[in-house]
C-alpha cells in the first residue's frame, strides 16, 4: 500500500532515535496522514526532477575540454540556436505542467482543512508564556473543567480546539495528528483533531515565544471512547480530601505558602489563576509543560528550584523546609 512504502524510502535508515511520537511521518491523525502522503508524492516528483538536473550537470562535466584560454577561442556564432530553443522550450513546458499538477494536488489536499472552521469548539486552548491551559466545555458549568499541558481526546471522533493566546503568539502543533495553527492575541483560530489510533502524541509550540519556547511541549492522549469518558468524569470531580496526615500537612502547606496565589485546586481554598490548574495533577504524565516526568523526585526538584530545569520560567523558587517540601510533593502526587 502506498502508505507503507515510505518506511522503506530514503528516510527509513535515518529515522532511528528512540521514540517518534512527535513526527510528521508517524501519521496517526487523519489530517497528518493526508499531509504525509502529499509530502511523499511531492518528494518523489521533485526528487526525480532534481536528479534529472544533476544528470545533465554530470554530462556537462564529463564532456568538458582542457585549457588554455585565449580570446580567440570564444565562439559567437550561436550555432544550433534552433535546437537549443527547442530544448529550453520543451523543458519550460514540462516545468509549467509539473507545477500545475502539484498545485492541483495541493488544492485537493487542503479542502478538508478549511471545511470545518465554522463548527463550535469542544475544547478551549489558551497559550501562556511557556505552558498550555486547556478548558473542556460542557453543557452545564459543572461539566466544565480546566487542566493543563495534556489533552485527552476520544479516538475516531473529530474534536475542534479553539486557539487563543493570553500573551504572545504561540503555535499549536502536534505533527502526528495535524498541521500547526497559530494562537494570536486578538485573533480567534481553531483546529480540528481526528485521531485514528489510540496512543500518546507529543507536540510543541512552533512559534518563537520567548525565553522558554523550547520547553513548551504538550501531550495529546487519544483514548478509546469509554476510557475518555472515564477520564473526563474523574477530571470533573473536585480534589479529594487528603486522609494520610502527611498529605493533609502538604495540603495545609500548599494553601499557606505562595503556591495558592498562582495555582487552583478545586475543592480547596487555593484559587490562583496564573499558574496551571493542579486539581488532578497526579494523573498527568509530565510536569512543567512536558519538561520532567511526574515522579516524586522530579516533582520535588521542580518545586524546590524550577529555574534549574527551565530558567526564566514565571514560577518563582519557593523557600520550603525539607519536611514541607516532602509533604507538598506527597499531597500533589496523590491528587489523582
Amino acid at each position: 500500500m502506498i502508505r507503507r512504502l515510505p518506511y522503506v524510502f530514503a528516510f527509513a535508515g535515518v529515522l532511528s532515535g528512540c521514540r517518534h511520537w512527535q513526527s510528521a511521518a508517524n501519521d496517526a491523525g487523519a489530517e497528518a496522514e493526508r499531509i504525509w502522503s502529499l509530502t511523499l508524492t511531492f518528494t518523489i516528483v521533485l526528487g526525480l526532477i532534481w536528479l534529472a538536473v544533476m544528470v545533465a550537470v554530470a554530462i556537462i562535466i564529463r564532456h568538458r575540454r582542457r585549457p588554455p584560454f585565449s580570446l580567440h577561442d570564444a565562439r559567437l556564432d550561436g550555432a544550433g540556436h534552433r535546437r537549443n530553443s527547442w530544448i529550453v522550450g520543451s523543458l519550460l513546458a514540462a516545468t509549467v505542467a509539473t507545477v500545475a499538477i502539484l498545485t492541483v494536488l495541493s488544492f485537493m489536499a487542503q479542502r478538508p482543512l478549511f471545511a470545518g472552521r465554522a463548527q463550535t469548539a469542544g475544547i478551549r486552548l489558551i497559550g501562556h508564556q511557556w505552558w498550555w491551559e486547556v478548558r473542556y466545555d460542557g453543557a452545564t458549568p459543572s461539566e466544565m473543567f480546566t487542566t493543563a499541558n495534556e489533552i485527552h481526546i476520544p479516538v475516531g471522533t473529530p474534536i475542534r480546539l479553539s486557539l487563543e493566546s493570553a500573551d504572545v503568539i504561540h503555535s499549536f502543533w502536534v505533527p502526528s495528528l495535524a498541521g500547526k495553527q497559530d494562537l494570536i492575541p486578538g485573533h480567534n483560530n481553531s483546529i480540528e483533531l481526528l485521531a485514528q489510533r489510540p496512543g500518546v502524541y507529543r507536540g510543541q509550540c512552533a512559534e518563537f515565544c520567548g525565553l522558554q519556547h523550547a520547553h513548551m511541549g504538550l501531550l495529546i492522549v487519544a483514548d478509546a471512547p469509554d476510557a475518555f469518558e472515564k477520564w473526563q468524569g474523574a477530571q470533573r470531580a473536585a480534589a479529594s480530601q487528603p486522609q494520610e496526615n502527611d498529605r493533609a500537612k502538604g495540603a495545609q502547606v500548599f494553601v499557606s505558602k505562595p503556591c495558592a496565589l498562582c495555582h487552583t485546586i478545586r475543592g480547596t481554598p487555593a484559587g490562583g489563576k496564573f499558574g496551571p490548574d493542579l486539581t488532578h495533577v497526579g494523573t498527568r504524565a509530565y510536569i512543567g509543560a512536558d519538561v520532567l516526568p511526574l515522579t516524586p523526585g522530579s516533582l520535588a526538584a521542580w518545586i524546590a528550584d524550577p529555574h534549574g530545569v527551565k530558567p526564566g520560567v514565571k514560577m518563582p523558587p519557593v523557600h520550603l523546609g525539607a519536611d514541607e517540601l516532602n509533604a507538598v510533593t506527597a499531597y500533589l502526587i496523590g491528587l489523582k
Binding site: H20, A25, I60, D73, A109, Q110, L113, K180, A206, E207
Partner: protein
C-alpha cells in the same frame, strides 16, 4: 599631488590628441584622491567604496559564522548548557539579522557598486557622494548591532521580531529597539545604493550599449535595485511603527486598542520575501557571468534570461503570505498565494535550462568559479524543490517554523547566493586586486564547503519532519533528534573550516598571488578592458559597445568615443534605450560631507530609540550637514 610632468593646463583640456601615457596620468590625477587618512575618508571612487563594502560584509559574515558555530555547539547534544536561553535567543537573532541585513544584501550591492560602472563602461557610479554616505551608514548600523550584542542588549526576538513578543509589553528593555533601528540604518544604505545602480545603468551606459546588450550580471543588479526600492520601505514602515509603539505608546499592533498583530506580519513579509530574492537574483547574475566566461560562449537566450529575471523580481512581490499560512487566513487568500509561490519556480527553471544549454553547447573549462557554479546547481535546485513543497499549504502547515524550513532557506540562500558569491570572488578577485587566487586552495575550499554544507543542512530536512521546531535553544532526549543534530553540528564545523580557508586564500593571494593582466580569464565583458586593479578613471577612453560581450565581438580594434575632458571629472550621459550620448555631466569630487552627514544621521538614529525628541533635533542636525553637502564649493561646480 599633481604629476611632475604635467604642463600648465588650459581651462578645459580634451582627451583628443593626447598620447596614452600622458592621458592616463592626467586622468588618474583628475579622478584620483588625496593620499593619507583624510583622502581615504573623503574618497567617492566607486572602487574604493565597493572594496570597503566587500571587506566589511565579509567581516560580518565571519562574525555571523562564529555565532552560528556557537548555536551548533549548543544544539549538538540534548539539554546542553553551552549557552543559556537568554544568550541563545540573542545569538540566533543576531545570526539571522546579521546574515540578512549586514552580510547578504550589502555584499551583493558591494559587488554591484564595484562592477556595474566598469561593466557598463563609465568612470564612476551615479551620485558618488551618496555612495560614500551609504557605506558609512551601513558600517554604523553593523557596529551598532554588534556592540549592542556585546553589551547584552542584542535583540532577542528573532530576525523577524513578531509583535507582541517584540512589542512594548513583552519586548523588555531596549533590545527590540536595537533591531528596529539597525533595520533603519541598513535600509537607508541599501536604498541609496539601489538608486545609484538604477541611474548608472539607465543613464551612464557606454554609447551604443542597447538594453539587450547590457551584461546579465548588470541586469540582475538592476532588477535587484528595483526590488530594493519597492520592498525596503515596507520594513522601514514596520520597524518605525514598532519603535513608535514601544516609545510613544501608539497602538498599531495592540489588539485591545484596535491594532492587529497580523498587521506587523503583513508589513514585514511584504518586504521579507522580496528580500530573499534581493539576495538570490544577484547570485543568478554572478552565475551567468561565470558560465559565460568559462563555457567560452555568450549565455544562450540572453533575452530569455533577462525576461525571467524581471519576472522573478515582479512575482517576488506577490507571494509574501506563504510565510503566514499557519496564522489562520481565509482559504481564498491562502490559495492565491499557493499559486503565486508555485509559479515563481518557472522563471528560475527557465534560467537554469538556459545555463545548462549554454554549458552543454559551449566548451566548459573547470576552474574554481565554475566549481562553485556546479555546487550552486546541486544545492540551489534541491532548495528550489523543497521550496515548491513549502508552497503547498497542507505541507507547509507541517513544516512551517521547523528545521525543514531552516534547511530549505539555507539551501536556497547559501546554495543560491553564497556559493555563486564565493565563485564570483574567485572570478573577480584578479580585477579587484590585480592578483590571482590560488586554484589549489580554491579546490579544497569548494570540496570542504560542498561536503560540510550538505552534511550540516541535509539532516535538518529530516529533523523538521521529525517535529523539531525552529529557534529552540535545546531539546529533550526522548524525541529522537540527538543523532541528526550531532551530525549537523559536525557538518557545520567542516563548513566553517571551508570559510576559514576562503578568507586565508583571499588574504594570502592579495599579497603573494600571481599577477593577473587586465583579462586573465579571456572574458568578454567591459570590466576586463580596464587594468587590474583599474586606475581611478577606469578606462582611458570610453568604449563604444556593439555586442553583449564587446571584448569578444571587437577583437581586432575596440571602437571608442573621444572628446571628454581630462582635467574635469566628466561622465557621459546616454539615452535610456539606445544609449546615444546626450550630455557630458560633471561627476562629484571627493568630499568629507558624506561622512559628516553619516555621523549626524547615526547620532539621530541611536538617540531616537531613547527619546522621541531626539528625532526632532536629530533631523535638524542632519539638515545642517546636508546643506553643507549641497552648497557648491567652487564656481566650477556650476558648470556654465
Amino acid at each position: 599631488m599633481p604629476p611632475a610632468t604635467v604642463m600648465p593646463r588650459p581651462a578645459d583640456q580634451r582627451d583628443t590628441g593626447l598620447e596614452d601615457a600622458e592621458l592616463r596620468e592626467r586622468l588618474a590625477y583628475t579622478w584620483g584622491r588625496r593620499p593619507g587618512i583624510i583622502g581615504w575618508l573623503m574618497t567617492v571612487d566607486h572602487k574604493e567604496i565597493g572594496r570597503r563594502y566587500i571587506v566589511t560584509a565579509f567581516a560580518f559574515l565571519a562574525l555571523g559564522g562564529l555565532v552560528a558555530a556557537i548555536m551548533r555547539l549548543q544544539l549538538a547534544r540534548p539539554e546542553q548548557h553551552v549557552v543559556g536561553p537568554d544568550l541563545y535567543n540573542q545569538i540566533f537573532t543576531v545570526h539571522g539579522s546579521n546574515m540578512m541585513f549586514l552580510f547578504a544584501v550589502p555584499v551583493m550591492q558591494a559587488f554591484s557598486i564595484y562592477l556595474v560602472p566598469l561593466m557598463v563602461g563609465t568612470r564612476n557610479i551615479a551620485f558618488a557622494r551618496v555612495g560614500a554616505f551609504s557605506y558609512w551608514i551601513y558600517l554604523a548600523g553593523g557596529v551598532f548591532l554588534w556592540v549592542s550584542f556585546i553589551l547584552d542588549i542584542g535583540p532577542d526576538v528573532g530576525w523577524f521580531a513578531y509583535v507582541p513578543l517584540s512589542g512594548p509589553q513583552y519586548g523588555i528593555g531596549k533590545r527590540p529597539d536595537v533591531w528596529a533601528q539597525m533595520i533603519t540604518f541598513t535600509e537607508v544604505a541599501a536604498m541609496a545604493t539601489a538608486v545609484q545602480t538604477i541611474v548608472t545603468v539607465f543613464k551612464h551606459r557606454a554609447p551604443g550599449m542597447k538594453l539587450t546588450e547590457i551584461p546579465l550580471f548588470v541586469w540582475a543588479m538592476l532588477v535587484t535595485a528595483f526590488m530594493v526600492i519597492f520592498a525596503m520601505p515596507a520594513v522601514m514602515v514596520a520597524s518605525t511603527s514598532l519603535i513608535l509603539d514601544r516609545l510613544v505608546g501608539t497602538h498599531f499592533f495592540n489588539p485591545s486598542e484596535g491594532g492587529s498583530a497580523l498587521l506587523f506580519q503583513h508589513l514585514f513579509w511584504f518586504f521579507g520575501h522580496p528580500e530573499v530574492y534581493i539576495i538570490f537574483i544577484p547570485g543568478t547574475g554572478m552565475v551567468s557571468a561565470i558560465i559565460e566566461t568559462f563555457s567560452r560562449r555568450p549565455v544562450f537566450g540572453h533575452v530569455a534570461v533577462i525576461i525571467s529575471l524581471v519576472a522573478t523580481g515582479m512575482l517576488g512581490f506577490g507571494l509574501w503570505v506563504h510565510h503566514m499560512f499557519a496564522t489562520g487566513l481565509p482559504e481564498l487568500g491562502a490559495s492565491f498565494f499557493t499559486i503565486m509561490s508555485m509559479t515563481i519556480a518557472i522563471p528560475s527553471g527557465l534560467q537554469i535550462f538556459c545555463w545548462l544549454v549554454t554549458l552543454f553547447t559551449g566548451t566548459p573549462v573547470i576552474r574554481t568559479p565554475l566549481l562553485f557554479v556546479f555546487g550552486f546547481f546541486f544545492i540551489f535546485v534541491l532548495g528550489g524543490m523543497t521550496g515548491v513543497m513549502v508552497a503547498s499549504i497542507p505541507i507547509d502547515l507541517q513544516v512551517h517554523d521547523t528545521y525543514f524550513v531552516v534547511a530549505h532557506f539555507h539551501y536556497v540562500l547559501i546554495g543560491g547566493a553564497v556559493f555563486p558569491l564565493i565563485g564570483a570572488t574567485y572570478y573577480w578577485f584578479p580585477k579587484i586586486t590585480g592578483r590571482m587566487m590560488s586554484e589549489r586552495l580554491g579546490t579544497w575550499n569548494f570540496w570542504l564547503a560542498f561536503i560540510g554544507f550538505n552534511v550540516a543542512f541535509f539532516p535538518m530536512h529530516i529533523l523538521g519532519i521529525l517535529g523539531m521546531p525552529r529557534r529552540v535553544y535545546t531539546y529533550q532526549t526522548d524525541v529522537g533528534w540527538d543523532r541528526l543534530n550531532l551530525l549537523s553540528s559536525i557538518g557545520a564545523f567542516i563548513l566553517a573550516a571551508s570559510f576559514a580557508l576562503f578568507f586565508l586564500n583571499m588574504l594570502r593571494s592579495a599579497r603573494v598571488g600571481p599577477l593577473a593582466g587586465p583579462n586573465p580569464w579571456g572574458a568578454g565583458t567591459l570590466e576586463w578592458l580596464a587594468d587590474s586593479p583599474p586606475g581611478p578613471h577606469n578606462f582611458d577612453h570610453i568604449p563604444v559597445v556593439t555586442h553583449a560581450t564587446p571584448l569578444w565581438a571587437e577583437r581586432e580594434s575596440l571602437p571608442i568615443a573621444t572628446g571628454i575632458s581630462v582635467n574635469r571629472r566628466e561622465i557621459l550621459i546616454t539615452t535610456l534605450a539606445e544609449a546615444r550620448p546626450e550630455i557630458r555631466e560633471a561627476s562629484p569630487d571627493s568630499s568629507i560631507w558624506p561622512l559628516l552627514a553619516a555621523i549626524a544621521t547615526t547620532i539621530a538614529f541611536i538617540a531616537s530609540i531613547f527619546s522621541p525628541w531626539a528625532a526632532v533635533w536629530g533631523s535638524a542636525l542632519i539638515g545642517l550637514t546636508l546643506i553643507g553637502w549641497f552648497w557648491p564649493k567652487s564656481m566650477r561646480e556650476d558648470e556654465e
